[in-house]
């Protein structure tokens, strides 16, 4: 039962000494034992290390540690396989890193440890965070706990599954074009992509450096608020992290949302949107209105160019970032007669098809004669997309949209057609290009099959407090987040 609790519920029980952190950790490990052979959220779990951390937390609680100072004390939190945890494996869902063991902790991990968390497990993902289904993982796809023939989404699919299936209390993911919000939506949990610069990326393996952010995934909005406060803030080890104050996000939850102005972009309600998703979002809009928010139609006219822009900028940055995987300093090497042959063979054998496609595309758009036509043009369109949002935020406090155009699709349904897979990210990608924050919260279910639907709220740069307050008010006035997936079949 303890594994099913939210962070604040478990903190309450730990504070009152009703349970121990060891019992909570054991409950998660036994849930993993029961369900993960089917779901494959975890690539590995170091049980002894997890239980040792839990014992440490219990000792700290016994010694009178303060939950106010350590808000994650004794809370089991699992981590996506793209974030470094000292002395644990790090593979990024790829074969190319071989038997890599991290020599240091990512800043987010160090911060969670300082807040008392039990940091455990390596969560499955699309290779190097490139994908929307976890089918690009070199270690096999994860499965959606609502229907195991379907994808949990991606790239942080393992993180979403682990949270939805109560294998951990909360998890960290990373989001470059929707990789936290889309799997959160498809698995019926809450996922937050913070503003670019809100969270340090030291120890996050880079995919597209102008877009990547680490963010929290949890069973409810309050848990993501607690976790964001713990991991947020300026870090001297990441020059792109911004020196903005980190508020106590959980504190402002529960305040009224009366008078909040919310924009509904007309460009997000047409096209390939599944009518059932459209209806759920419209119902959510009415719910927000009944809570006192004022919803008005707005326009984000460059929405239709977001995917093309993203696949130029992200792949260009990836082609440079992934040059480091060359078999020289770490990872699985395939020998060659000279260095070039060694690189080519190592990378040919080590990368999966989607990673190769994106590196080749990124190399192409940066190559002589194509730079201006593709890369520079995409950077200019990115300015227009960002302007759309900054203009909208002059009129509204937040923007409401569907997170995904459809509910979870079947494994194998789109994996042979990369472009179809890319088009599925239409509602999440602009947020990263604009550098703003976004959250996905459960807003209903499709009728048959019974699958979760996600509502996306987008906020101003460093506007996470408003975003969380709105998402929390909506969540607490609806039943969706309380429904659990049918694991026993």
């Amino acid at each position: 039962m303890l594994h099913q609790l939210t962070i604040s519920e478990l903190t309450g029980k730990l504070t009152r000494r009703e349970v121990t952190a060891c019992e909570a950790m054991e409950a998660c490990l036994s849930q993993i034992e029961k369900t993960d052979a089917r779901l494959h959220a975890f690539l590995s779990v170091d049980k002894n290390d997890a239980l040792a951390q839990a014992a440490q937390a219990d000792a700290a609680i016994q010694a009178g540690a303060s939950f106010a100072e350590q808000p994650l004390l004794g809370i089991p939190i699992a981590v996506k396989d793209v974030i470094a945890v000292k002395n644990q494996p790090l593979n990024c869902g790829s074969k190319i890193l071989g038997k890599y063991i991290s020599p240091f902790d990512a800043t987010v991990v160090a911060k969670m440890r300082a807040a008392g968390a039990i940091v455990f497990g390596r969560l499955n993902m699309d290779e190097f965070a490139m994908g929307s289904s976890t089918e690009n993982s070199a270690f096999g796809a994860s499965r959606n706990p609502w229907d195991t023939d379907r994808t949990p989404g991606g790239s942080s699919g393992g993180s979403a599954v682990a949270v939805a299936a109560d294998e951990c209390l909360a998890a960290l993911g990373s989001d470059t074009g929707g990789s936290i919000r889309q799997p959160a939506a498809l698995c019926g949990i809450v996922g937050l992509k913070p503003t670019y610069g809100r969270v340090s990326r030291y120890g996050l393996v880079a995919y597209a450096s102008s877009l990547d952010q680490i963010g929290p995934m949890g069973k409810c909005v309050a848990d993501t608020a607690i976790l964001l406060r713990a991991i947020g803030g300026r870090d001297p080890l990441d020059a792109t992290s911004v020196d903005e104050p980190v508020p106590d996000y959980a504190k402002s939850l529960g305040q009224s949302v009366k008078g909040a102005k919310i924009g509904l972009p007309k460009e997000y309600l047409g096209g390939g949107l599944d009518p059932e998703i459209g209806q759920a979002v419209q119902a959510a809009v009415r719910q927000l209105e009944s809570l006192g928010a004022e919803v008005r139609e707005i326009s984000l006219p460059h929405t239709e160019y977001a995917i093309a822009t993203y696949y130029i900028i992200a792949t260009a940055e990836a082609s440079a970032n992934l040059a480091r995987f060359d078999g020289v300093r770490y990872g699985a090497r395939v020998d060659g007669g000279d260095p070039i042959e060694l690189y080519r063979k190592t990378r040919g054998a080590g990368f999966g098809p989607e990673v190769k496609r994106r590196i080749i595309l990124g190399t192409y758009v940066l190559s002589t004669g194509y730079y201006d036509a593709y890369y520079l043009r995409a950077q200019k369109v990115r300015t227009l997309i960002r302007q759309d949002f900054l203009n909208a935020f002059k009129e509204v406090d937040a923007i409401v949209t569907p997170t995904t155009p459809t509910a979870a699709f079947k494994l194998g349904e789109k994996s042979q057609d990369p472009l179809q897979m890319y088009l599925n990210d239409i509602f999440t990608i602009s947020c990263n290009l604009a550098g703003i924050c976004g959250i996905s919260v459960p807003c209903g279910f499709t009728k048959y099959p019974h699958l979760p639907i996600g509502l996306q709220l987008l906020g101003k740069p460093f506007g996470e407090e408003t975003l969380l307050r709105l998402a929390h008010a909506y969540e607490q006035s609806t039943p969706w987040h309380r429904e659990r997936p049918p694991l026993q079949r």
Binding site: R329, R333, R357, L361, L376, T383, Y422
Partner: protein, 95 residues
């Protein structure tokens, strides 16, 4: 939607990735489709628009130039595929 030709073998060489003939054929077709889709951006007039490299306007982030502890050599070499004398080992580059 148009389909663009791309010399996959040449670009893969620039990216230092060895491909099988089957991969060359498959990626050529898929990337041609994706580039065709990307042509969409040509519909927009971007004259006079400044490019965005980075969504948060920060420039020249510096820190004091001080010596601080860093990863010890043994730790940095821990994951090396081949090493000797505190160095990464590679095939010979210069005769």
């Amino acid at each position: 939607m148009s389909v663009r030709e791309i010399d996959v073998r040449y670009v893969a060489h620039l990216a230092r990735i060895e491909l099988s003939p089957e991969e060359e054929r498959q990626f050529g077709a898929q990337l041609g489709q994706i580039l065709g889709y990307i042509e969409k951006l040509n519909q927009l007039d971007v004259n006079g628009i400044e490019p965005t490299a980075h969504a948060v306007p920060m420039v020249n982030v510096t820190r004091p130039d001080e010596i601080k502890p860093s990863l010890p050599a043994a730790e940095a070499l821990r994951n090396a595929p081949a090493q000797a004398n505190d160095l990464f080992m590679m095939p010979k580059i210069v005769e």
